[in-house]
């Protein structure tokens, strides 16, 4: 016979104002099996919890029902309290009489009646609760970081620092990401390469870190602590272990007309290339789309000049499989394509550039060796117009609905750098709002205005028209002056919105993590768990979760690392005991459940059974791996015989709730 305790919380007046808690406690006291039914001011308080604990001991309770706030709030609190008093924590059920009762109903009579019914349902369910013990599953002591930008590098370094093996998977031939392309950083104006490249080197030299450059994740199986990841090492046609990065091949390669992605296509590279001088790993890669040898079979220059014989035209993609305990996603961002914004003439005029292109134009390693020249005629621009919010803050049909966050600051940086280096150049910035929250950020922006005389104009550029004389007519409104301006600019710089990398969406599917409509990864909680995904063991680092500047990215990278380390230090993790299980005697082995399981938690075994008709039979039956199962219950409905059931939400428990509600 069950001995159930019912505890009704007032939650101050939150519940008690619209629910007559005394009558609820009284009514539930008459339910079968209930031996004690009490109400209390704040059940979640320490004294409230003590009330529960004492009752468990005193009445030797076999089940506890707490009528209080949402189980999403305090289910854990009361489970822990029960466990402390020696009752299996899964013998606790919560009736949600606050969020789903007192807060939504005004009439005391009907709210009280509903609270009683919800309480009865919880009592009916707890009658059927079984004590559950959480299983444990081992943790593979290795982390995977997907993406080798500053976010991935920082995360990997921090995890390695804590003593764990960590692999970086980077789809490009080198790590470094966007930061490697940036010239200077705000608000300190120090050189990006100067602070990034030491980290890249550190990563490459750290014994605990393995860098899989020019590689992609192609498959993810498993679950927290126990992921099995397949990594495709794309063929770079150069043996990484032999190549010394001497660069001779890149000098000799006859195919020199390949647009250089590192410089945003503003200059060219060779078919065999090392993206930039400080690339890590400093290994050449052959671009098979342009290599003469690969395309026509005639050339082989690089192979001839390579003294270590690293060139291998026959190399194929390789797949490696590795076990990981934790995965950190750091897939970063890209500026959006500006093709559809005709009004800015980006596709028509080479002197209309994006901000990232401007970074390369100004960089010493860039196409012009650091001198700012117009791409069209290589002359000094004397009038430059910056356009903010290109594709950001748009209606969905026009662009990205969000603020890209970094543009205001990097534009101020660009304006300032140009005015510093070329004082004869006039700089106009057309803005909608200048958004500069952050340490020393607004001061930085003010310096651009006050110290460098950058013209900030509130208003948006309506149309950019390249003129035949080489000038660019920028037509814009000055909202404060209430006039329309025409500026004959030499260059126009567009602050293109940023978006998550395209590889993120398929990756999210592999990882079974959620994304928002903009393809940014969704964090487990927007405030309290900003670096974890909702899928256990998957963490988020950098701009893949939302637009971020470098300091924020690094901060999140370290935070993600800390979370991953917190997981990796454990030898095993406690599993959710509310998982599916199959009654082997009833199972038909039909494979329906396996087909709907998103985690591959169900396998089949041939097992010998003593059948009810006294015969021995070998039968195919389903077996659930409790460490893999996440407890969704899809299998329980797919199973026609009802052999598959779910702990904590069993068929009978849910039906008992239905019955109690419909009583």
């Amino acid at each position: 016979m069950q001995r159930i305790g019912v505890f009704v919380c007032h939650c101050g007046t939150n519940i008690a104002a619209t629910v007559d808690v005394k009558s609820v406690a009284e009514a539930l006291g008459h339910e079968p099996g209930v031996v004690i039914s009490q109400d209390y001011q704040y059940m979640c308080s320490e004294s409230g919890q003590n009330l529960v604990k004492n009752a468990i001991k005193e009445h030797n309770l076999t089940g506890v029902v707490v009528c209080s706030c949402s189980p999403r709030m305090h289910e854990n609190t009361f489970r822990k309290a029960a466990a402390a008093a020696g009752l299996n924590p899964y013998l606790v059920e919560i009736a949600n009489i606050r969020e789903q009762c007192s807060w939504i109903h005004k009439d005391i009579a009907s709210a009280t009646e509903k609270a009683i019914i919800l309480g009865k349902a919880a009592v009916a369910k707890v009658h059927l609760n079984a004590p559950l013990t959480a299983g444990e599953s081992p943790v593979a002591k290795r982390a995977l970081v997907i993406g080798g930008g500053i976010a991935g590098i920082q995360t990997a370094l921090d995890i390695a620092e804590a003593g764990f093996e960590v692999d970086i998977v980077e789809k490009n031939p080198t790590i470094g990401g966007k930061m490697a392309q940036i010239d200077k950083t705000f608000p300190t104006l120090d050189c990006a390469a100067c602070i990034l490249t030491p980290k890249m080197v550190e990563a490459s030299q750290n014994e605990k870190i393995t860098i899989h450059s020019f590689s992609e994740v192609t498959d993810v199986k498993g679950f927290v602590g126990n992921f099995t990841v397949t990594i495709k090492k794309k063929a770079r046609f150069v043996d990484e272990t032999k190549c010394t990065g001497c660069g001779l091949c890149t000098e000799k390669c006859p195919m020199k007309k390949v647009p250089n992605e590192f410089n945003m296509g503003l200059d060219n590279r060779t078919a065999i290339y090392i993206p930039f001088a400080q690339a890590v790993p400093k290994v050449a890669t052959i671009d098979p789309n342009f290599c003469m040898m690969m395309k026509t079979g005639k050339c082989g220059v690089c192979s001839k000049v390579c003294s270590v014989g690293a060139i291998d035209y026959k190399q194929e993609d390789r797949f490696i499989e590795q076990k990981y305990g934790a995965i950190v996603v750091a897939t970063g961002f890209n500026p959006i394509k500006l093709d559809k914004y005709d009004e800015f003439a980006y596709n028509q005029c080479p002197d209309v550039v994006t901000s990232l292109e401007l970074e390369r134009l100004m960089n010493a390693a860039g196409p012009n060796g650091g001198t700012l020249l117009r791409p069209s005629d290589k002359t000094h621009p004397h009038k430059i117009v910056f356009v903010q919010c290109v594709g950001s803050r748009c209606d969905d049909s026009k662009g990205k609905p969000y603020c890209s966050k970094i543009c205001c600051m990097y534009t101020a940086k660009h304006a300032m750098l140009i005015r510093e280096k070329y004082p004869d150049t006039e700089v106009y910035v057309f803005y909608i709002d200048v958004r500069t929250p952050g340490k020393n950020f607004d001061e930085f922006y003010r310096r651009a205005v006050e110290q460098y005389n950058v013209h900030y104009i509130k208003g948006m550029v309506g149309k950019v028209t390249p003129r035949s004389d080489g000038k660019i007519d920028v037509q814009a409104s000055d909202l404060l002056a209430n006039e329309q301006l025409h500026i004959d600019a030499d260059m126009v710089v567009l602050a293109a919105a940023i978006e998550p990398d395209k590889t993120a969406r398929p990756l999210a599917t592999m990882l079974t993590t959620q994304m928002d409509t903009n393809d940014f990864f969704t964090e487990a909680h927007p405030k309290l768990r900003p670096v974890e995904s909702a899928t256990a063991g998957i963490f988020l680092s950098g701009a893949c979760q939302g637009p971020k500047d470098i300091p924020e990215t690094v901060a999140q990278a370290s935070a993600a690392a800390a979370k991953a380390i917190g997981l990796l230090v454990k030898d095993s993790i406690t599993c959710n005991p509310c998982v599916a299980h199959s009654d082997e005697l009833m199972c038909n082995g039909c494979s329906s459940c396996e087909k709907v399981c998103p985690y591959g938690a169900i396998t089949y075994i041939d097992k010998e059974f003593k059948m009810p008709d006294r015969t021995i039979a070998v039968r195919r039956v389903a077996s659930v791996n409790p460490a893999v199962c996440q407890g969704c219950g899809a299998c329980t409905v797919a199973c026609p015989s009802g052999a598959m059931d779910l702990n904590g939400f069993s068929n009978n428990q849910i039906m008992a709730e239905v019955d109690a509600i419909c009583k």
Binding site: S592, K595, P640, S641
Partner: protein, 323 residues
């Protein structure tokens, strides 16, 4: 045909290729034929029958038989092969233990249909050029063959065997049947009319479980309706609700798995058109998720164990047909 089948079976038994044969056994009258397992040539000679009344689908028996020692020869009609394939897909039969000989199917005859004509005291039935000559204690009676065929044969979906080791007779084609006509007719009724129709039908149910027990898709080790722990078990429909519950859930459990073999309606002692429930699911699946024929192959995903991201919403039910 029968002679050829007996000969082939004897040959296979003699070769040792199989050690048993599943087929049909002669009864007391012309029509009361029982599925049976034969082990010897003598038994085959004496009792094996294949004629216009051998409608029973023997594939379900193979769930048990295919797990026994040795190989069994199964004569399967086209519709039976669909059931067999579906059972193979669900790992309910051991394919290797069954030697399948595909045989031409129906149309098969329904003794009830003959009796419904007022013809009783049947002593023998002969098919002469699609006219039935029925010998009765009250004299000879005549009726057209096609007026006595089983409903399931009248709406035959396919005369093609989807699985076999060898074929006897000519292979047929998948047919363009009119099997959804009745479902459509019901869909076009008002909700009240549909309700009345089904209340009328389902209230006849005596819960004998014949539909379930004959169904090749219902091979559960223990049916939820027989399992006292399931909370829905019952031996008799004590209430109109339970008639609904049993038939809805049964149809749902076989949805996407039912091959539309029609055995449920054939065996129903109360003549409830149960196949309409299954066909409703089949029709919905075809129209909402693309054509799907259960049992056609052994690899495709059952529609209910599958999804597409752009599947229609459940609200589609509110938007179509007659309220």
């Amino acid at each position: 045909m029968q002679e050829a089948m007996i000969n082939r079976a004897k040959q296979l038994l003699a070769d040792g290729a199989v050690n048993r044969v599943i087929g049909w056994k002669r009864g007391e009258f012309a029509y009361d034929i029982t599925p049976a397992v034969f082990e010897t040539a003598e038994e085959l000679e004496k009792e094996f029958v294949y004629d216009d009344f051998t409608a029973a689908n023997v594939s379900k028996y193979l769930v048990k038989e295919s797990k026994k020692e040795g190989k069994i020869l199964a004569f399967l009609k086209p519709c039976d092969t669909y059931s067999f394939n579906q059972l193979t897909k669900e790992h309910r039969v051991v394919r290797e233990n069954v030697y399948i000989v595909g045989i031409p199917g129906g149309p098969k005859l329904d003794a009830e249909k003959i009796k419904a004509k007022g013809i009783t005291g049947i002593l023998g039935v002969k098919n002469e050029n699609y006219t039935l000559k029925i010998d009765t204690v009250y004299g000879e009676e005549i009726m057209p063959f096609y007026e006595a065929i089983l409903d399931k044969c009248a709406t035959c979906k396919s005369k093609k065997h989807v699985v076999y080791d060898e074929l006897m007779g000519e292979e047929g084609d998948v047919l363009d049947s009119n099997r959804f006509d009745m479902v459509e007719k019901l869909e076009n009724m008002t909700a009240q009319e549909r309700f009345d129709f089904w209340r009328d039908q389902l209230s006849k149910c005596i819960r004998c479980n014949a539909c379930r027990n004959v169904c090749p898709a219902c091979t559960c080790e223990k049916c939820v309706f027989d399992n006292p722990n399931s909370g829905v078990e019952n031996k008799a429909p004590a209430d109109s609700f339970e008639e609904n519950m049993f038939h809805i859930i049964r149809a749902f459990h076989v949805a996407g798995r039912c091959t539309d073999c029609g055995e449920c309606s054939r065996v129903c002692p109360q003549n409830i058109p149960l196949h309409l429930l299954n066909r409703k699911f089949i029709k919905d699946i075809n129209s909402l998720y693309g054509e799907y024929q259960a049992g056609e192959d052994t690899t495709s995903r059952a529609p209910l164990n599958d999804y597409k991201q752009d599947d229609c919403e459940a609200s589609i039910v509110h938007e179509r047909g007659v309220e």
